[in-house]
């Protein structure tokens, strides 16, 4: 296991990248702590797989340095980096038995037979594969095949990091939960560094201690699920995490505070006008808006009852937005007024959050 450091990584699939747009990965500078469980979250095409392949060595970055425990591995081939990767579709060697599949990476590293046998049996035990060890890998179900690809990584006891590239895509929903919790248990017990790529926020939130959110080739935020929820650093995070996503209003920032359509909005830490040059927006999650008779007058247009809570569609000035309304809270029938939680409403300039400089 090792700490992984991505030092100012940029990557382009073009031969001679000139413009910023040529880069599939724009300046990623990140440290993955030893033994951490990370989720790499983002929509398709945001550069997740590129980043993963740079760590595993399948791609060599255009710029920057990859270091494992301080040692540069940028020029090392994948098999010399001692990493493991589980792909979207199960990769097994069809003609081999399960046993041979697990032994394969060890044999290629010239380990002696008795040690291989020991490791293979131990790993099979951990993943409940003992019963199928002598079966041909080709005939197994998708979830068992996916376990084999994981096992081929786990069997190397000194593996630096195990990377998962949307590994549950082809698994039946009822088995997904099972595999997910099994994986979580394995991680807790053996404490390997784990990077889990997904575009499914539930999966990311249940899995990881730290979530890395990517958007258009950039890392927009790294944080725990609470941090991503309560303080999205980028409007993309606000929109991508949470359902429904964060409300955004165009706003102005002046000496007298933040205003939406001229209406003053109270914030705990409003930025100074000097900090704002660009398009400014006010972002507040539906969960942080409350009905309050002393607040801003809004017009309610629709209420959707989603079992244990309701989502209210409303309009402030000219801007439609959503309010999250838990059980037991009454929705006013007319003259509705709302207040934004001053701690959880943020100003975004060109997509990025700004807050008052501490004085």
């Amino acid at each position: 296991m090792a700490e992984i450091r991505l030092d100012k990584i940029r990557h382009s699939y073009e031969d001679r990248p000139a413009a910023e747009a040529d880069f599939a990965l724009k300046m990623v500078d990140l440290t993955w702590k030893d033994g951490g469980a990370y989720a790499l979250l983002g929509p398709s095409g945001c550069g997740k797989s590129t980043l993963l392949n740079i760590i595993s060595g399948l791609l060599s970055p255009t710029e920057g340095d990859v270091r494992f425990d301080g040692r540069s591995v940028t020029d090392l081939a994948p098999d010399q980096r001692n990493i493991a990767q589980v792909f979207q579709f199960p990769v097994v060697y069809d003609t081999m038995t399960v046993y041979q599949n697990l032994a394969f990476p060890l044999r290629n590293r010239g380990m002696d037979r008795s040690r291989i046998d020991e490791l293979v049996r131990e790993t099979a035990q951990r993943l409940d594969l003992t019963g199928v060890l002598d079966r041909r890998a080709a005939g197994l179900t998708a979830d068992n095949k996916q376990k084999i690809s994981l096992a081929r990584g786990l069997v190397r006891s000194d593996v630096n990091v195990i990377m998962f590239d949307e590994p549950l895509t082809v698994i039946d929903p009822h088995l997904k939960w099972q595999l997910r919790s099994q994986l979580k248990k394995l991680h807790q017990r053996y404490n390997f560094t784990m990077i889990y790529v997904t575009h499914d926020q539930t999966e990311a939130l249940t899995f990881a201690d730290q979530i890395v959110v990517m958007h258009e080739g950039e890392v927009v935020q790294v944080g725990t699920s609470e941090e991503l929820f309560e303080r999205p650093e980028h409007t993309f995070v606000g929109h991508f995490i949470g359902s429904p996503g964060m409300n955004l209003f165009p706003c102005t920032v002046g000496d007298d505070g933040v205003r939406v359509d001229g209406m003053p909005i109270a914030l705990d830490a409003p930025p100074a006008p000097g900090q704002v040059n660009g398009t400014s927006q006010l972002g507040v999650r539906p969960e942080f808006i409350r009905f309050d008779t002393g607040g801003l007058a809004v017009e309610l247009t629709d209420v959707a009852d989603i079992g244990r809570y309701r989502i209210v569609d409303a309009i402030l000035g000219r801007h439609p937005f959503k309010i999250f309304c838990p059980e037991g809270v009454e929705i006013p029938s007319d003259n509705a007024k709302v207040r934004f939680d001053p701690r959880h409403a943020n100003v975004y300039v060109d997509g990025w959050r700004v807050e008052a400089r501490s004085r």
Binding site: N53, S56, G57, L58, A77, P78, D79, I83, A84, Q85, F87, Q88, F89, V91, Y93, D94, T95, M96, F104, P105, N108, R109, R136, A138, G139, S149, R152
Partner: protein, 289 residues
């Protein structure tokens, strides 16, 4: 219960198909069967002769020799074309501009009419005026396919390899292209060598298309007629007289209808039997997975 009135009129709907099959398969085949059990001395008079023609063909050394030649030829071209096709497919680029160039080049021999292939190679290999024939002789090899049995044999084999390896290449290439990148990436992470990638990933994934390639090449080469007929006419002597060439000699050259019919049926049964054996063997190993 609702009473069902039996209605057999639907059978009429099958008649066109029945007629079609009858005219293009059953009737011609039965005509051949008919010839094979009769003897004629002209005047369109036929006499029942039982299985005499079959015994005759099966006991004739001429048939044995042609069959042996045929088996040798098919075995040789399969042993050359299948591995060669796989090697070429592996060497072909996986993406970019050159993919289409390679594919077109590979498809070219398959698009040339068969007798043109024969004529081309005939001229190409002539020892006095052909480019190949002159070049080989200039290298100090005594080569004359019109007179030396060995030269003729090699020329026919090389011609078939030139003509048909592309088919194996295209099938194998399709098989290779269907392998997802993840397999190669996983193999690199597992530290697999190039040979291991071929042995454990590419070959198993190509198995299905290679089965089809072997089957097609077996059937086609076993029925080969046009190219060697144009190139060597079955000679020199009988050295490149394969089963179909022999059959035509008997049927049209000697107009020996009974013997030719019996031989056609035996020939047909051999191909059917061998294809069935191939297919069953290959499907069985498929089922073991």
């Amino acid at each position: 219960m609702i009473e069902r009135t039996p209605n057999q009129k639907a059978w009429w709907l099958v008649t066109p198909v029945l007629a079609l099959v009858a005219f293009n398969a059953i009737i011609p085949l039965m005509t051949v069967v008919n010839y094979s059990v009769q003897e004629t001395f002209g005047n369109n008079q036929f006499f029942w002769s039982g299985v005499i023609w079959y015994e005759d063909v099966l006991n004739s050394p001429r048939f044995h020799e042609a069959l042996l030649r045929q088996l040798m030829f098919t075995a040789q071209i399969l042993l050359i074309e299948v591995p060669l096709g796989v090697i070429v497919a592996l060497a072909m680029p996986r993406k970019g501009f050159w993919v289409s160039v390679c594919l077109v080049l590979m498809a070219l021999p398959l698009l040339i009419p068969w007798n043109v292939v024969g004529a081309m190679w005939n001229i190409f290999a002539l020892p006095d005026i052909g480019l190949l024939g002159r070049a080989v002789n200039a290298l100090g090899v005594d080569y004359n396919f019109t007179q030396q049995p060995g030269s003729a044999w090699v020329t026919v084999v090389v011609m078939d390899v030139w003509h048909w390896t592309s088919l194996v290449v295209l099938l194998a290439y399709a098989g290779l292209r269907s392998i997802p990148d993840a397999f190669y990436q996983a193999a690199r992470i597992d530290g697999a060598s190039g040979w291991q990638i071929f042995r454990y990933i590419q070959l198993p994934k190509m198995k299905r298309v290679l089965t089809i390639a072997v089957l097609l090449r077996f059937m086609d080469s076993f029925m080969i007629y046009t190219e060697p007929f144009v190139l060597t006419g079955g000679g020199p002597g009988n050295t490149t007289t394969f089963l179909s060439i022999d059959l035509v000699k008997i049927a049209l050259g000697q107009f020996d209808l009974g013997r030719a019919a019996a031989m056609s049926l035996i020939y047909f049964l051999i191909i059917l039997l061998m294809s069935w054996i191939f297919y069953t063997l290959m499907m069985r190993s498929e089922g073991q997975k």
